[in-house]
């Protein structure tokens, strides 16, 4: 099979989207996972259920609600419009927000599990040794939860790569702006460009396989065992 005429833009866009989404989710998901791991509040189970929703909901359902929320009159898109003067729907930023909701459980759940495994005991030891709560988080809890972070990053990244339904609903199919890999593949198949679809699909397959292999190898060799 010879190299077909390829548009690599969707691939590049997808990588950017996945990287930015994981970045956002680490910032938002870490405190959320921490809270879930250590709170005694009754709200915990409720929040846990909400976080897990994207796993069970059809992407189109999630996408539909996000479309409304991100729209110029929605509860996210409206304030955004007032603040920046531009709409959110059918933009890259809108796509990042939608992806963050979509991939939230894949980042929060591994972190939540890792923080729970660390538990309160090492933190108490750190506080007793003079570390502030923030210091203890960075110098003790985070390194001990390193496996959780690794899983969170990889799962969040991989899950965003494969996103389709939500993107279609929220981002549409704008080349260079919101046309990501999975949609490009769908488009190629639609117009019977099988060789292009093959290339992109094979790339995604091999890329995912390599990443997961690296992660499992690294994970096994990490010196930290928490349990």
């Amino acid at each position: 099979m010879s190299m077909p005429e390829m548009d690599w833009n969707p691939l590049w866009l997808t990588m950017q989207l996945a990287a930015v989404t994981v970045g956002v989710l680490l910032v938002v998901g870490t405190p959320l996972a921490w809270w879930l791991a250590f709170t005694k509040s009754r709200l915990r189970t409720l929040v846990e259920a909400v976080v897990a929703l994207p796993i069970v909901l059809p992407p189109t359902v999630l996408g539909f609600y996000l479309l409304i929320a991100l729209g110029p009159l929605g509860w996210i898109g409206g304030p955004w419009m007032d603040l920046t003067g531009s709409p959110l729907s059918f933009t890259f930023t809108g796509l990042v927000i939608a992806s963050a909701f979509y991939s939230l459980p894949f980042v929060v759940q591994p972190l939540h599990g890792a923080f729970e495994a660390v538990g309160k005991n090492p933190l108490e030891a750190a506080w007793a040794l003079g570390a502030s709560k923030l210091d203890a988080f960075f110098s003790v809890a985070s390194p001990m939860a390193i496996r959780g972070y690794l899983s969170a990053i990889v799962l969040g990244f991989a899950h965003t790569l494969g996103e389709f339904g939500v993107v279609l609903m929220v981002g549409g199919n704008i080349p260079g702006v919101t046309k990501v890999l999975s949609i490009a593949i769908y488009d190629h198949v639609e117009v019977l460009e099988y060789s292009q679809a093959h290339f992109l699909s094979a790339f995604l397959l091999i890329f995912s396989f390599i990443i997961l292999t690296i992660v499992y190898t690294v994970n096994r060799r990490l010196p930290i065992h928490v349990s």
Binding site: P122, A125, L129, M144
Partner: protein, 358 residues
């Protein structure tokens, strides 16, 4: 001498924790009681790891907790040694030791790294991560880590409880040396009588969330009103002695306390070394009148009867509290008691055998 004044109340369902006691900040204070009696809760409240809804805590001149104040643990400058060593698994022993040391001001560092490493025998462990260390080694590193913050007070929560007998024997001498060499007051929580007899000079006895006795260890053990405290080997006396000389041909060592001499089985210690010895209450026998000029008994002291009570622990025994320059408890049969017709104030001779505590 400065003191620690601690008063805490916490209401759990079915358990009221209500403690009020003053402890000297000098030497080792044992907090002793059965499992679930509230010893660890008391220690955690003092550390600042727990906040009692109603509490007052004064360390020397500093208020650590009252209605308006709650000094966070980081500012109390206490060292805490937990039952499980809680070493940080991502750091090696040396990095664990340095963790707290790095977080205090250079001016506050009274205890040097090499001093602690030498005291606890950690030289060969420094590069190891915690999961390559044995339980006893982990606990020694944990003690060193706490000491290197140069704490004003060292809190130890059953530091030996999760170790086997061999490891306990390995660590106890280190803990005994802490006090002598570093002059840091220690609060030591334990339910193991032997540890306390070896380490503590003051004790707080806790039962079901309340303090039932507090005072110098010799006095607390000599009290007759604390049944069930120290079974099965009821402590008759704990004496702080010094090695006077050795009689190797007889396998004996002579020790002195308050100008009196006692013989104990031979000890491998130099003359002049301090040694804490124990007399079991059941090993004390009483003689009224002039003792026989020749007797097989090596240890005999003049004693005054202070108090006599029926033993709450043995229905056929009486417990006699004596004064031999310090309190001494004797457990004698009811029959002997009737034959001797003992009365408070009476002069008797106490015969006993003594054993070293180690």
């Amino acid at each position: 001498m400065s003191q620690l004044d601690a008063r805490f109340k916490i209401n759990y369902p079915g358990f009221h924790f209500d403690v009020d006691c003053i402890m000297p900040l000098d030497g080792t204070v044992a907090i002793f009681g059965a499992s679930g009696s509230g010893k660890t809760t008391l220690l955690r409240c003092i550390a600042g790891l727990m906040r009692a809804s109603s509490g007052y805590l004064k360390f020397g001149q500093d208020i650590w907790q009252d209605e308006h104040t709650f000094v966070p643990i980081q500012q109390r400058r206490v060292g805490v040694v937990f039952q499980d060593a809680r070493l940080f698994p991502h750091l090696n022993a040396k990095q664990n030791l340095e963790y707290g040391m790095k977080r205090i001001q250079a001016l506050d560092r009274r205890i040097a790294f090499d001093q602690v490493v030498g005291l606890l025998g950690l030289e060969r462990l420094l590069e190891h991560r915690s999961h390559h260390l044995s339980g006893g080694e982990q606990q020694r590193v944990a003690i060193g880590r706490a000491l290197l913050t140069s704490p004003q007070l060292l809190l130890m929560d059953e530091p030996l409880a999760s170790l086997d007998q061999e490891r306990k024997k390995e660590i106890l001498p280190f803990i005994q040396r802490l006090n002598q060499e570093l002059q840091i007051p220690v609060l030591y929580v334990s339910h193991d009588l032997n540890e306390i007899l070896q380490l503590a000079n003051h004790m707080v006895l806790i039962k079901e969330g309340k303090v039932v006795a507090t005072g110098p260890i010799q006095e607390v053990f000599a009290r007759l009103d604390l049944p069930g405290l120290v079974e099965p080997n009821i402590v008759g006396a704990i004496l702080e002695t010094r090695i006077a000389d050795h009689e190797p041909e007889f396998g004996l060592t002579r020790v002195e306390f308050a100008g009196r001499s006692l013989f104990i089985p031979k000890q491998e210690l130099p003359v002049g070394a301090p040694l804490r010895i124990q007399i079991h209450a059941r090993d004390v026998s009483l003689v009224v009148g002039v003792p026989a000029a020749s007797s097989s008994v090596l240890n005999s002291l003049e004693a005054t009867v202070v108090e006599i009570e029926e033993s709450p622990r043995d229905q056929y025994a009486m417990e006699v509290k004596l004064d031999v320059g310090c309190p001494l408890l004797a457990m004698i049969t009811r029959k002997s008691y009737h034959q001797l017709d003992l009365q408070p104030g009476q002069k008797v001779h106490a015969h006993f055998k003594a054993v070293a505590l180690s």
